[in-house]
Symmetry: C2
Subunit: 126 residues, 2 copies
DNA sequence: ATCCGACATCGACGAACGTCAATATAGAAG
DNA sequence: CTTCTATATTGACGTTCGTCGATGTCGGAT
């Protein structure tokens, strides 16, 4: 006795596979794991504030010596969060003398935004 | 013991506060906490696949009875992930008879995409 | 009424996470 | 060389997360 005797709802579709869509196609496991790693990096208020501090900077780069005192957290903790953001490809760093400067990585942000950008079929069932 | 004797780098800016920008302004603690909760909901491969399965559906809604068998996870686990997505405001549900249908919440996705959309100052320092 | 199936909630467990103090590394200055 | 400062790494701790099996709830059918 198949457990779907009550006429389960329909099933169809399987749209193209052109990459960016959250709403374009069902998203296979590999891409899901990759994207999840990036979104997880954004899933912490401290990292979001760090990223916004860096990305909103007109000059494009911010010294760690400016980021650390902006929080009530310890210096190793800030360093840890910066590493996670960097491993997610969201920021990049450059050492200059004694100081280290972080800068945002716009392509990565754009990729995420494009992935979330919605409604390829605004024709809501018509 | 002023720990900045070596003439630390400059500091300026403090752009407007018009809401959406990751790159517009530094993002205060309250908004950071709120956004972090949403991004955390996206920071899991299972939830990303669930969301894409729901959002990419032409009809707009998907029955749980279709989502659960798409994974090797137990039914309670899928239910748990759906709840987190719903609490993040990313999806909504509707009961119809014995079955429950989930549907994407495009405004929430658009808000996130707008937040990430980059480069208000594409003048990359040359 | 009773029974069955779809979905949600509960409790428990190991794994991953955020945080810290302590320590290490790298570069500048004396 | 040594010393000092800026940043990173390590190791440990409590908390949160993802998962499961067991159980609860709701609705339809009999």
């Amino acid at each position: 006795m198949s457990n779907q005797e009550r006429s389960a709802p329909e099933r169809d579709d399987r749209t193209g596979d052109c990459r960016p869509g959250l709403l374009t196609a069902p998203l296979d496991e590999a891409h899901a794991a990759d994207l999840a790693r990036t979104f997880k990096a954004l899933g912490d208020p401290v990292r979001l504030r760090l990223l916004s501090l860096i990305a909103s900077r007109a000059g494009g780069e911010v010294c760690v010596c400016e980021l650390t005192p902006a929080f009530t957290l310890s210096q190793p903790t800030i360093s840890h969060h910066l590493r996670l953001l960097r491993q997610a490809g969201l920021i990049d760093r450059e050492r200059r003398g004694t100081w280290v400067y972080y800068r945002a990585q716009p392509p990565a942000l754009d990729r995420l935004a494009a992935f979330l950008t919605a409604t390829p079929h605004p024709t809501t069932t018509v």
